[in-house]
Symmetry: C2
Subunit: 413 residues, 2 copies
């Protein structure tokens, strides 16, 4: 497996501010990796509200089932995340493992087990021995401190080549509130409801049902628009925690999703989730190029998104971009196979600003040379107009390179 950092990695990581009411710690539990931290806890002050979205896989991991059970309570005091083992497809032993961990975590912060949230990422099918790390939780909770966001982002990495961190601020009433988010993921990425692991915290005083609505809607426009390899994970988890501490600085407590004062926060949260999701794509296994695919003129937004994902998940489109070829014939193929309304003779296709196909034929005006130069860049935009209606959608993916095959096929040989 290559350890080189993705060429699409950010040039530098943001300095993450504190979120009042959130403390973080990480440790080396030796679950699978050596010489790196693989266990992370996020401790929340009393009164923290929680929201979450999870994988729609029919074979979800034990921690996903555990979180789903606690979510209706809407309260969080501690989040425990390990990397190296997904605790997925581990049957009865998987449930025992989450129970042991939850008990130790609840004790560590003096909370009930209903206020604990868990996530695991790594290999599927290996039993996760909670005894390896549950005894560490008390000490971790004690030494947790507000500044450890980058350490947290690194502790949850698996095949990621860089930690994913985004911070934002928003006006809420007369106060400024802070939102911090981290994510991990590089392969098995085709979010369906949520994605891989991502944790976001804010000091805004927002009630859990409102948080949930904000999160679900923002997910549809961020994580649910990215795909690396069309393979939806068993462990996708995205959670949002709100400590409410900004109330002391005058931020109003929000209890209705329709509250007009939410608009700034909603926008900031949406941008932050989108930025995290794009960081995941840019760290897609073997990725050398980011691809943005916009489909317009579809019968509906839903139809546009299906066609966009058909293009984004096509191995032939992805290998063509890897080969720096504006192979729009393969885009036509991917439109055609999507099963959605499309009319060949109305189709137009652009690579960047270059229209390569128009009304069902090659655009006679396009310059092969200019398009070839465009394809050498590391951010490629493909636009397709179907000419049928007003439905529109944009999704993001990365190219498919030999390195993806090496990462996922050579690890044993």
């Amino acid at each position: 497996m290559s350890s080189a950092v993705s060429p699409l990695a950010p040039k530098r990581y943001p300095k993450m501010p504190k979120i009042e009411g959130v403390r973080i710690a990480a440790a080396e539990a030796g679950i699978k990796y050596r010489n790196r931290k693989d266990l992370m806890v996020m401790v929340f002050d009393e009164g923290t509200e929680a929201a979450g979205v999870f994988t729609r896989s029919k074979c979800p991991s034990a921690p996903v089932e555990f979180c789903r059970k606690n979510l209706p309570g809407g309260k969080a005091r501690i989040l425990v995340v390990n990397s190296g083992n997904a605790n997925a497809f581990t049957g009865r032993r998987g449930r025992e493992s989450t129970e042991v961990t939850a008990r130790a975590a609840a004790k560590a912060v003096g909370a009930s087990e209903g206020e604990v949230f868990l996530a695991s990422t790594g290999v599927i099918g290996e039993p996760l021995d909670a005894g390896r790390f549950s005894h560490l939780l008390g000490e971790l909770a004690k030494r947790a401190e507000p500044g450890a966001w980058e350490e947290a982002a690194r502790a949850i990495m698996t095949t990621d080549t860089y930690p994913k961190l985004v911070t934002a601020t928003a006006r809420l009433g007369d106060a400024e509130v802070v939102i911090n988010g981290i994510a991990k993921g590089a392969g098995m990425i085709a979010p369906d409801m949520a994605t891989m692991l991502s944790f976001v915290a804010t000091d805004a005083p927002i009630a859990a049902p409102v948080l949930q609505e904000l999160l679900s809607k923002s997910t549809a426009k961020s994580f649910n628009t990215v795909t690396v390899d069309s393979d939806t994970s068993t462990s996708d988890t995205l959670m949002l925690f709100a400590t409410g501490k900004a109330a002391a600085r005058g931020a109003p407590r929000i209890t209705k999703a329709t509250d007009p004062r939410l608009s700034g926060f909603r926008r900031a949260l949406g941008k932050l989730l989108k930025a995290l999701a794009l960081q995941v794509v840019r760290d897609g296994e073997g990725a050398r190029k980011q691809i943005e695919i916009t489909v317009s003129g579809a019968k509906s937004a839903r139809s546009a998104k299906r066609i966009a994902l058909s293009i984004a998940n096509s191995p032939l489109v992805k290998t063509a971009v890897a080969g720096e070829d504006a192979n729009w014939g393969r885009v036509v193929m991917a439109v055609g196979k999507a099963g959605e309304p499309a009319e060949r003779d109305l189709l137009s296709i652009w690579f960047g600003d270059h229209r390569v196909a128009h009304e069902g034929e090659r655009d006679p005006a396009y310059s092969e040379e200019q398009v070839s130069a465009y394809m050498k860049g590391d951010e490629i935009e493909i636009c397709v107009d179907l000419g049928l209606g007003r439905g529109k959608a944009t999704v993001w993916t990365c190219d498919l390179t030999k390195e993806y095959v090496a990462i996922n096929g050579d690890y044993r040989s």
Copy 2:
């Protein structure tokens, strides 16, 4: 692009018998390839009945639309196939090209344009200049002879590394009838109704509506169960021609699909189509292993097939097989993402005879060493039992190797 023959190629090609009423010729038209034949005609005696199934792509090629138009007539006198250019997404010029070709083909055999069938395979979006080869058709029709099946199979190849030929016989009444078939395809293979190009001929006297029913049903169990890369072609065409010449040897003329005398022919046709489809998988771009995936215990056969295809099209499952790793965690993932009824804790998974997972957990009895040895073979069977119902399906695919990425991404670099 590699020119090495697939390691899964047949050791030798079958000797193809004549089909009375069918004559074949091929030529170098220089459409794209140099120093190889790229144009093939199959000439049928008067009275030949025809059936066909075609891509369900919403962006079908011009020849597919042309064939669809002629199919209701049920009569064929000539088939013209070129490789190197798919005449797909070529708009008005694509239709002009099929018209010019059809006119020349009809003239070459003294038939009506309604008895002409056309197929093209190769690059998408390039106009196909019929002037390059339509003048050759008269001479080709004249020199066509019954023994040129292998030449025909070679003339329709694109990225194929070997020609695909299958022959079979069947009892029909008191006579023995012959069935010959050829196919091409290596990438952009995820048949949806039919697949790539395949042409089958028989001397059996079977009426067109009966042929059509036989072909549609057999396709569901042959070509529509294979996938190389999940990318459905714009040009998928499978046609079956029956010259009826075996009537002179005493074969009864069949005009009803329910005729009990059809059973032997039906079985032989089914086996032949399946053999051709498997040859396509075994020549999948970059393939080193054939993978057979059986899903049982599903709620319905349709559900079983969707789950089987979800496994077969998963890049992570395919790269794991390439790496000779029995990574059943990825099989669980692919079952989970299929969106079909599944219960994690009822799931069992086998690689060959080795049960690796049982009732939602790793099977404690399986030997890693034995499974590893099994994975070194070049024909891998994966079985999944869902434990829910009686639905069952089997599909075939190949592994995903760096060679696939090279073939589809490196061709310009």
